[in-house]
């Protein structure tokens, strides 16, 4: 059985479990909504929402919401106590890593699609340069999914992981979030691509490193 087939099998299993339990995605959507409402009230200026805060609100909300998903990423295997069995496939641990990263990416993508219009409405912002914002978001979510899956696996059996995961993950994701905020801010002001191409390249380079390193380290962690 190929690695791709095993990855698909495990991803389908996780999607089925998520659809039946209706826990993780529901919590992520609710949490995202709550973050936007809190930020909208927090950044009120003379009764008006602060439009210049949109990039920060968007990216910080995605960072927080992504953590909610990551904390439950390995919950099915932990409850079952069969992580060793699921990790021991003919293709090694790669199918488990990629299926979990794909699940996180899927959930984060759904949350992002829900979040963008909500942020626009709450902050009364026009989403100019949406194609560049979408590219930055895609790069951000890929990096978060790859690095987050590794961090979640590292901390899967650690006490206080709810507190430790953000402590480990947020500093590592800082370049990605910074790049995302910059690209979003510049794209919203209709700046030309040349104004933020450096940030896009930084995000691309970051993703290339974590997409290669994370599954390699994951194999050692799960060993």
């Amino acid at each position: 059985m190929t690695m791709l087939r095993l990855t698909w099998l495990l991803l389908a299993k996780d999607v089925r479990i998520a659809a039946r339990s209706r826990e993780v995605l529901g919590f992520m959507l609710l949490f995202a909504m709550l973050c936007v409402v809190v930020f909208a009230f927090g950044f009120l200026r003379e009764g008006q929402a602060a439009q210049d805060q949109v990039p920060g609100v968007l990216w910080v909300t995605l960072l927080f919401t992504g953590t909610v998903g990551l904390l439950r990423l390995f919950a099915p295997e932990e409850e079952a106590g069969n992580l060793d069995l699921v990790a021991r496939t003919l293709s090694g641990t790669a199918p488990l890593f990629w299926s979990k990263a794909a699940l996180q990416l899927l959930f984060s993508g759904i949350v992002t699609a829900f979040l963008l219009p909500i942020v626009a409405v709450f902050f009364d912002a026009s989403l100019f340069g949406l194609e560049w914002i979408a590219l930055a978001l895609a790069l951000g979510l890929i990096g978060q999914a790859a690095l987050g899956t590794l961090a979640a696996a590292l901390l899967a059996q650690v006490r206080l992981r709810e507190a430790l995961l953000p402590l480990v993950l947020y500093p590592l994701l800082a370049p990605l979030v910074l790049g995302g905020v910059k690209v979003t801010a510049l794209a919203l002001t209709r700046a030309p691509y040349s104004a933020f191409s450096g940030w896009i390249e930084l995000m691309l380079a970051f993703d290339a490193v974590v997409v290669v390193l994370s599954p390699w380290l994951f194999a050692r962690v799960t060993d």
């Binding site: 059985m1 095993l6 099998l9 299993k13 089925r16 479990i17 039946r20 339990s21 099915p76 295997e77 409850e79 079952a80 106590g81 069969n82 060793d84 069995l85 699921v86 990790a87 021991r88 496939t89 003919l90 293709s91 090694g92």
Partner: protein, 224 residues
Amino acid sequence: MTGVLQSNPARLSARQLAWSVADRFVLLGVDVAFAAGTLTVLWGDNGAGKSSLLDLLAGLRAPTRGEVLLDGVPVGDVHPADLARRLARLGHKPGAFLDLTAHENVKLLATLCHVSPSDEAVRQCLDRVGLARRDQARVVRGFSRGMMQRTALARLLLTGADVWLLDEPSTGLDAAGSRTLGLLLDEARQRGAAVVVATHDFSWLPKPDHWLQVRGGQLSEAQP
């Protein structure tokens, strides 16, 4: 040399196995071999190290010292996928995904062990362990411990492992379930599997080939 060395050829063996937690040795200098087609019972007080020994034999924990061999090859050198297929461990946790049905669980976990069973083969195994057809299609989260054990046993049957390492497998099973379990272990032994059972309840067991007591971190051949 401490511990017990059984007859050859050994399907699964351990040499000078030691395992410590916080400077206290739970197991020390264990030499043991489990031959193909035998049933061995591990018994001993709570905390004696039975479950730890099974985890070490299954390769789920790295020993402090010593090594475990599967057909003479150190388990660290066996491909993890082969290890998962050939060596079945039934522990205290359910082993099944709680939000999948019994049928889905058995099929998925067997497929991960490269068995790729048909739906009919999965149904037959679940029938064999006495799980009713309507329960086979139910999500296992609502299952009793005994039903969970039956689901786990069906997976073991389907994968056809060479070595069965079972920790208190009769927990939660009713009288009929325990009888079925005894029959299945006997069949596995006759098929050539090395079956190792850690238990405090001996009433349901088919006649074992060896009795091993775990005591003071070591093994000795003794009946309860």
